[in-house]
Amino acid sequence: MPQNSDMLGDVQMSSNGSAANSAVAIGARSGELLARVAEGDQSAFAELYDLMASRVLGSIRRLLLDSAQSEEVAQEVFLEVWQSAPTFDAQRGSAAGWIITMAKRRAIDRIRASQSAHDRDIRIGTRDLQPVDDVAETAEIAVERERADRAMQSLSDVQRQVIALAYDGGYSHSEISELLQVPIGTVKTRLRDGMIRLRTEMGVSA
């Protein structure tokens, strides 16, 4: 089978209608499937993968940039889903949220690991990851989601990465600077330019 690395760069933008439908379905469906995976059901695992894989890889890719590394991390995430499904506690949140949070955490772990040789004093894990919003999806939320995704897609890779690290990881300027091994001034400029671009793309006016 030919390796198609370009495929990884394609962000799937769905229409408003299908975004709403799929978003509504994901919350409940992921929970049902994970419960079956917890019983060793491989068909359910395959279905859960189909449901979540593009979101898992999307969340990782935003933080890691590198497509091969992102794919490796996505593989680790799904193996952990398989292994840890029996330990998932539905009272703590949705299955989809659990999986996406795991993906972000592992992506940040991977950045950290690649930089640990440079700087072992980096302050990490001082904040929890932003919780994934688990509220029931409505069509309005799906429209907001698409607006946010489209705006994020307009950013350069490095702008998107620093915004994701600040937002998903809650990392400070100096922490991001250490994680990415770029000057702090560059981090601040990327963040600011990114936010200005997002403001324009989202059509935000106070």
Partner: protein
């Protein structure tokens, strides 16, 4: 670059919630100085609110799913949290027949069947199998095998059954009647004795046809059976002389009925 330029760069971090306390204090002073500064802060906060909805999607290559489906074949799952403790209210951890069933994973499921064997290790599965065409069909490339294994495991009618292998270890047959395909996963099974090989068989009544030789890559390995599977058939593993046999030369010593 002016001091204001530098302080304006705190606006993004403020909206995203990633400023240090010192930076927040400095940005607070900056905001107090002008309505224009405050307007930008409000707009950036709006951006951050919308960002909360973002859920990026990137399509993975098909190989990723294939690798995963192959990997989980032999990967055990962790025990349920609070397996013995009751945690009422949680649909997953609640004590229920489903939870009870889950305590025994398919790959740990003992199969009640012991027909004593003499020397040869023979495992027979009954499930629904069919005939391979050649006597010793060529083994497909591993990548193609993993595709087939993923297809079998992901099939809606996928079934699996495990048996203890005489001589030690466990063997699991995964099959899909709709795909007419099956794969065997072995765990902890010793290599065949010198000059011998494991051989897979489709068995229907007294008719046995080779489904290929089974070479063990390690203590855990798997192989897709050659040929197709037909309802009412069985699968067996025998030890045969190197190169395989045209028909089993040892008698089945264990039988599993799905």
């Amino acid at each position: 670059m002016t001091a204001d330029d530098e302080r304006a760069k705190l606006a993004a971090g403020h909206a995203l919630g990633s400023l240090t306390p010192e930076e927040e204090a400095e940005y607070g002073r900056y905001l107090a100085e002008s309505a224009e500064h405050r307007l930008e802060a409000t707009e950036f906060e709006q951006v951050a609110k919308t960002l909360a909805f973002s859920q990026p999607q990137v399509t993975p290559p098909p190989e990723l799913k294939q690798r995963l489906m192959a990997q989980i074949q032999t990967m055990p799952q962790r025990p349920r949290a609070g397996e013995t403790a009751s945690s009422a209210g949680s649909p997953i951890s609640a004590s229920s027949p489903a939870a009870e069933r889950a305590r025994v994973r398919w790959f740990r499921r003992p199969v009640a069947m012991t027909v004593a064997a003499a020397a040869a290790a023979v495992v027979l599965f009954v499930g629904g199998l069919a005939l391979g065409n050649g006597i010793h069909p060529a083994t497909p490339p591993v990548s193609a095998q993993s595709d087939v294994l993923a297809q079998i495991s992901a099939a809606p009618d996928a079934q699996r059954a495990s048996v203890t292998v005489t001589g030690g270890g466990e063997a699991t047959l995964v099959w899909s009647p709709s795909l007419a395909k099956s794969a065997v996963v072995v765990d902890g099974v010793a290599q065949a004795p010198a000059g011998k090989t494991y051989q897979l068989w489709y068995i229907h009544d007294s008719d046995a046809r080779s489904a290929g030789l089974l070479s063990l890559g390690g203590s855990r390995s798997w192989q897709v059976l050659s040929g197709t599977m037909r309802a009412g058939d069985a699968v067996g593993i025998t030890i045969e002389p190197a190169g395989g046999s045209k028909a089993p030369t040892t008698k089945p010593v264990a039988v599993f009925t799905a």
